[in-house]
Symmetry: C2
Subunit: 129 residues, 2 copies
């Protein structure tokens, strides 16, 4: 069986994907892939997602330069979630989030409010120009 | 605004949740929460998910004893994914997966095959008895 057939694609033909940074083990971001995105990720060693808003393949870093080099592709026990181990390229310290932060998970629940917790490392206006 | 209203619930009223282990930073599992599950998680400091298969609240560890103590609740840049920082209780070394493994992400893509990569720490038959 094709390894891509082992993945349980959801009703939209997508699978959720977690990107985790090699070394720090930080969770950088969460996105989706369709079959072609996962096939291209495995073949190229660079993360390719499916943009649900733009309805097209999203070569991570295509605009920002913040490419993800993929070291390891994991599948969970139910075959319906993918975990990528990546090196986040393009900026030092690494930026995965479109807001210019290291990780997309920068909002922290404090009492009954979400508060921004991690600093902006680069102004998004200079990332996407 | 209620902090729960800041979350962008999907068309099923759910939000995807990543559970990450404090200390190791390992990604343990991926699941979903509805509004009540997230509210109860925040109030109790124990992870409560929504079981899509059983269509009910799932108090993580209710059968296995593998409870998750929640230290930190994060929200991503789009307000539609939650990241929990947890201590995985109930077994040493820690077990989050129903297969008796540390993490649910134990299958690794090697060439064109998924291979089990991490050991079973406890027989599932003795976990769920």
């Amino acid at each position: 069986m094709d390894w891509l057939d082992a993945v349980k694609w959801d009703r939209d033909g997508l699978v959720p994907v977690i990107a985790q940074e090699v070394g720090s083990n930080d969770v950088l971001m969460f996105a989706f892939m369709n079959r072609e995105a996962l096939a291209r990720t495995a073949a190229s060693g660079r993360a390719v997602y499916w943009s649900r808003s733009r309805k097209r393949l999203w070569f991570k870093g295509e605009e920002s330069g913040h490419v993800q080099q993929v070291h390891d592709i994991r599948l969970d026990c139910d075959n319906d979630v993918v975990l990528l181990k990546v090196t986040q390229l393009g900026h030092e310290p690494s930026i995965a989030c479109h807001t210019g932060r290291h990780s997309c998970f920068f909002q922290r629940l404090e009492g009954d409010q979400w508060r921004g917790f991690d600093p902006v490392l680069k102004d998004p206006e200079t990332i996407y120009k």
